[in-house]
């Protein structure tokens, strides 16, 4: 079963830690500037602390803008066998997110998936136990 979004605040309370105080998303991205578009992948950066997917987005007037979309740490993905080639260059993705406060063509990807609705990395279902270790 695919989980819903875990908000930073909810996760923080559950853990009694400040795990997500590290990154003030509200300073970086503007809740008043939601964006939604499709674009073609030009670069995939599976890096820490956040991954970034670069898209070439064709606007209504026919010009192209380069957007970079912020995502999560890829380490759990690597544990599942994901590599930088898992999202082929040229793939078409659909994004809903919030744009950077400084007006740059940068956004946090609240939802991001292949244009047909397939999730980016897990092909439609939550992945199995990452370690493969048996339950006790």
């Amino acid at each position: 079963m695919i989980l819903r979004l875990i908000s930073c605040a909810a996760l923080g309370l559950a853990l009694s830690t400040t795990a997500h105080a590290h990154h003030a998303f509200s300073a970086e991205f503007d809740v008043e500037s939601p964006v939604e578009f499709t674009g073609k992948v030009t670069k995939v950066e599976l890096i820490n602390p956040h991954s970034w997917i670069h898209l070439a987005v064709t606007k209504e007037d026919g010009t192209t803008e380069n957007w970079m979309i912020e995502g999560g740490s890829p380490n759990s993905l690597f544990r599942q066998g994901v590599t930088k080639n898992s999202i082929p260059i040229g793939s078409e993705l659909k994004v809903f997110g919030y744009q950077a406060r400084d007006g740059a063509t940068r956004a946090v990807g609240r939802t991001i998936h292949f244009i047909d609705g397939t999730p980016l990395f897990f092909g439609g279902s939550a992945p199995p136990n990452s370690s493969g270790a048996p339950e006790r």
Binding site: M1, R4, A21, E28
Partner: protein, 320 residues
């Protein structure tokens, strides 16, 4: 739904202790005879650091309570578009959600075992005052420059790395490597490797403060006891009001329970922060390696983006 969650069931500490005694002869050992603690582990858990107040001195949840807690931890509220909480990537898109990572299932009500209420001791007035000063400064200057941002946002260190090492929201992997005279404990975030000498007596070299203190270890029977002091004075531990003092002392005890599990116990003593020392313990479970590199600083777009965003807010007459 529960059956699909990748958790392991661990019963009471009493059961674990008897298992330890029975299995002592079967524990893996190094070629020089000490217990082998080496391996890759996760310390992800749904046991909170502090016990909910209404549980009083109760160390264990009932089966029903534990299952309910598990369900709550694995089920989350969807955020609403147009709210601040919605301005975030989706955890399960990246395999970072609780249910997507191996997690220990336990009936324990808290990681903290002492004080008896399973909660951090009261903060000292000094710590509270210092905390207020820091918050007041940050409210005014928190976005002035990179050095005003948090240590984790600057990719310098995450507080959970300690010592004591505590579980955090994700990337809870730990690598332990053992040689005859050293043990390495490496946290995934941010690839910090504590290289701890194993000695007969405390070191005498005078060292400068260190981000994770200076540690030394010794074997007491089959338990590795690590003593650490000489902290940086710049890191605010999880749940503390202000940074941990240079002279704070942390003792860790690590032992092997069975082929798949280590027990990690600790005591923290910082009279500048808390009115009493406090202790806790939890279990680390073996996972497949490797611990993937969490380079952080090298890929830190977020920090300059935050500063740039703050400047944009200021340019419009606002306050970031």
């Amino acid at each position: 739904m529960n059956a699909s969650f990748p958790y392991r069931t661990l019963s009471t500490i009493a059961l674990l202790s008897s298992a330890l005694a029975a299995a002592a002869d079967e524990l893996p050992r190094t070629s020089w005879g000490t217990p082998s603690l080496q391996g890759y582990y996760t310390n992800a858990t749904i046991v909170p650091l502090e016990r909910p107040v209404d549980l009083g001195e109760r160390e264990f949840l009932t089966e029903e309570e534990a299952q309910a807690r598990l369900e709550r931890a694995m089920t989350v509220t969807e955020t609403q578009p147009g709210t601040e909480a919605d301005v975030h990537y989706q955890f399960d898109d990246y395999g970072m959600a609780r249910a997507q990572n191996q997690t220990v299932f336990s009936h324990r009500s808290s990681i903290i075992t002492s004080p008896k209420n399973g909660r951090l001791p009261p903060a000292t007035p000094e710590a509270l005052a210092r905390g207020q000063e820091i918050r007041a400064w940050r409210a005014e200057h928190g976005f002035d420059s990179a050095k005003e941002r948090s240590l984790s946002e600057r990719c310098i260190i995450w507080a959970h790395e300690g010592p004591p090492l505590l579980p955090t929201g994700y990337n809870n992997h730990v690598q332990i490597m053992e040689s005859k005279n050293h043990i390495v404990i490496m946290s995934e975030m941010i690839h910090d490797a504590r290289v701890i000498p194993i000695r007969d007596s405390a070191p005498t070299a005078v060292l400068p403060p260190q981000w994770q203190g200076s540690s030394w270890g010794r074997w007491e029977g089959d338990t590795l006891v690590i003593e650490t002091t000489g902290f940086s004075g710049r890191v605010t531990p999880t749940g503390a009001a202000a940074p941990m003092a240079v002279d704070a002392k942390v003792v860790e005890r690590i032992s092997r329970i069975d082929a798949e599990t280590l027990k990690y116990e600790f005591t923290v003593n910082d009279p500048t922060l808390w009115e009493a020392p406090w202790s806790g313990d939890y279990v680390m479970q073996a996972v497949e390696g490797p611990v993937f590199e969490y380079a952080c600083h090298e890929g830190n777009y977020g920090l300059p983006n935050n500063l740039s965003g703050a400047r944009a807010i200021e340019a419009k007459g606002g306050k970031p």
